[in-house]
């Protein structure tokens, strides 16, 4: 037994000593040149989040992975993950040779933090197409200056509703959920996201505050508002709420735009258009803009191919293909003329520019230690 223990300890030490250190990857990345590849690509992404294979065929858009393979003469292996946290654990442990990952906004700030240091600083010389990015997406709160990540797709949080109870000809208000007079008609048929930042953010917006507020009094006011509303809320849930809306169990649902659209599309048939019965909008007071981002983890073995792929996605045509497949907003301004007009003209995917300019739409900022205040306030509001 003891011998075995010693052997294991030795093997572990050797393994640790032999591993490529993070600085090597960074150095390799700094030396990359635009359009030059250095090996095959291991792409770690959410399930079916890029058009390729039979899914691309079915959606009648170009297979982006095959296109990259033939343009650059490398092979792309696409692997699916199902949560930010599983991906984080694998990158942190270091055994996963992934060259590209697609973390959500909060995960980018966590992974690029100097203490965790899990993302390669991007070599912008190797990314000439960065100029195609919409300036709005070049200085995001979770990654100032875009040093570690490039936006991949974005969307909004708002309210999905049934036209039976909601008239949205003048836009809608968070009052659909928080105003006791408005919600009297459908009390008990409301769902809210089970997420402290999103739920309190909605209440903060209704009260006229920023959803990144670090004022304890404001957060407490938002928490009280949710507590007062709680009895009329059927459920706090972050998945499946779209089905409740379609079935008619709920009339008003707080949630992410993409979820509602795929549910509405799913419910539509050749002779029924669900969009006639259901809508989605970001309330006039504003709401959250979420962003998924593409980044190079320190486990990368082909950092230059990874840069080439990011630059490839930033090409107008490819950025448009991505959005035409996912039906999410594209951070690629140059891509806009190639995106289906039905997507661009849909205010629930592309909200009016004024909402960005006025500060109504906000990105979720990493609030550091203050995050626990949000979590505690939300737990208290629900109980």
């Amino acid at each position: 037994m003891r011998r075995l223990g010693v052997t294991i300890a030795v093997v572990s030490l050797v393994a640790a000593a032999c591993g490529t250190s993070d600085t090597d990857v960074q150095a390799a990345a700094d030396a990359c040149e635009a359009g030059v590849v250095d090996g095959d690509l291991n792409f770690y992404n959410w399930t079916e989040y890029i058009p390729y294979g039979s899914a691309a065929e079915e959606s009648e858009v170009e297979d982006l992975l095959a296109k990259f393979e033939s343009e650059y003469g490398v092979e792309v292996t696409y692997t699916e993950y199902e949560s930010n946290e599983a991906m984080l654990a694998q990158v942190e442990a270091g055994g996963a040779p992934y060259d590209l990952v697609v973390p959500s906004d909060y995960m980018v700030s966590l992974m690029s933090d100097p203490e965790t240091d899990l993302l390669v600083r991007l070599n912008k010389d190797a990314l000439p197409n960065l100029s195609n990015l919409d300036p709005q997406f070049t200085n995001l709160p979770f990654d100032p200056n875009g040093d570690f990540s490039v936006p991949y797709q974005w969307g909004t949080t708002g309210i999905g509703y049934s036209y039976d109870v909601v008239d949205d000809s003048e836009g809608i208000s968070w009052g659909l959920i928080f105003d006791p007079v408005q919600r009297a008609d459908y009390a008990g048929q409301i769902s809210m996201l089970d997420d402290s930042r999103e739920a309190l953010g909605a209440a903060l917006k209704y009260l006229g505050y920023s959803l990144n507020s670090t004022d304890e009094a404001e957060v407490n006011a938002a928490s009280d508002l949710i507590a007062e509303t709680k009895d009329d809320i059927a459920t706090f849930s972050s998945s499946g709420y779209w089905d409740l809306l379609i079935e008619g169990t709920t009339m008003v649902a707080h949630g992410w735009n993409g979820d509602f659209f795929s549910a509405y599309d799913g419910a539509s048939t050749d002779d029924y258009d669900a969009y006639e019965d259901f809508g989605f909008a970001v309330p006039n007071e504003g709401g959250v803009v979420w962003v998924d981002n593409i980044a190079i983890p320190v486990t990368a073995e082909s950092p230059c191919t990874a840069h080439a792929f990011i630059d490839f996605l930033l090409e107008a045509e490819n950025g448009a293909t991505l959005t035409n497949y996912n039906y999410y907003g594209s951070p690629n301004a140059a891509a806009e003329e190639l995106i289906y007009p039905e997507i661009l003209e849909d205010p629930s995917i592309y909200p009016p520019q004024e909402m960005f300019d006025s500060g109504a739409l906000e990105f979720l900022e990493d609030l550091g230690e203050f995050t626990t205040t949000y979590e505690d306030a939300f737990v208290e509001a629900k109980s």
Binding site: T47, E80, I246, E247
Partner: protein
């Protein structure tokens, strides 16, 4: 409240109990039945019936990514089952038949650990272990992980069988000049066979179902079916998922029934049987 006299009573408590039994079945199986029914529905929404179709099964078979995930799952399940069954059976024999060896008690206690500790803990431990060894995550690391947790399940099932086998039969074989290997192959193994098959089928099922551990130890291109389906649910729910679920369900149920069959056969050999914790 009246208590009926005698030993045989067909009063209301019995009826309530049997009603309760039926309700348990309804709660357990009605949702499953609905999932299966809607896999044949000609409507893209999982909650709306639009007439009978086999389209979703056709789509499932035409989805390359999904088929690749299925292939990975089958490879992992078969290899990890064979290896963990051999190792698990050996462990069970070592614990039951060899009375004293160094570290036996510790080994005995540790064997139950993978059954008791939460999947997430096991997943993180395995992930860190592989990275300490400098192993690249791949299909191999998934297989190793599945072997690691399956050994315990196999050993527990086989041990229960061994515990009720009279070892005087093996002694008799030894008296008749059978060497240890012959005794094992001709006497012990045929008698514990139902336990071994039961353990193997249990291992196969657990391997086919695992999401938590696999999602942490998978490598490039090695996503298994359950992990893939889990990710798919986050994006869009179409009856294609119902079709996949139905196929997995039927496969799992067949395995469980076969496994139960073998355990029944085992029970007929010896009446008293130890409680086997899953």
């Amino acid at each position: 409240m009246s208590v009926s006299e005698g030993t045989v009573s067909k009063g209301w408590p019995d009826r309530i109990l049997s009603l309760n039994g039926w309700l348990v079945y309804v709660f357990l199986y009605a949702p499953i039945l609905i999932v299966m029914i809607f896999s044949f529905s000609d409507h893209p929404n999982v909650g709306i019936w639009g007439g009978f179709t086999l389209d979703w099964y056709d789509r499932m078979l035409g989805n390359e990514q999904l088929m690749r995930a299925l292939r990975n799952s089958v490879v992992v399940a078969l290899i990890s089952t064979v290896i963990s069954t051999v190792l698990g059976t050996a462990a069970a024999i070592a614990l039951e038949r060899y009375r004293r060896w160094a570290g036996k008690r510790a080994f005995d206690a540790l064997l139950y650990l993978p059954v008791i500790i939460p999947d997430v803990t096991m997943a993180v431990m395995l992930l860190l272990w592989f990275s300490q060894l400098g192993m690249r995550l791949s299909l191999t690391t998934i297989i190793l992980s599945h072997i690691a947790f399956n050994i315990s399940f196999v050993a527990i099932v086989v041990r229960a069988r061994l515990a009720h086998m009279d070892d005087s039969i093996e002694e008799a074989a030894a008296d008749l000049y059978a060497n240890r290997w012959q005794t094992f192959r001709l006497v012990t193994l045929p008698m514990i066979w139902p336990g071994v098959i039961g353990g193997a089928l249990l291992a196969l099922t657990l391997s086919l179902d695992d999401v938590v551990i696999t999602s942490l130890v998978q490598g490039p291109g090695s996503t298994t079916l359950p992990v893939y389906v889990f990710g798919l649910i986050r994006r869009a729910v179409t009856p294609e998922i119902n079709a996949v679920s139905t196929v997995m369900l039927v496969a799992s149920m067949v395995l469980v029934f076969v496994s139960l069959g073998f355990q029944r056969r085992a029970e007929r050999f010896d009446m008293p049987r130890e409680e086997v914790d899953e």
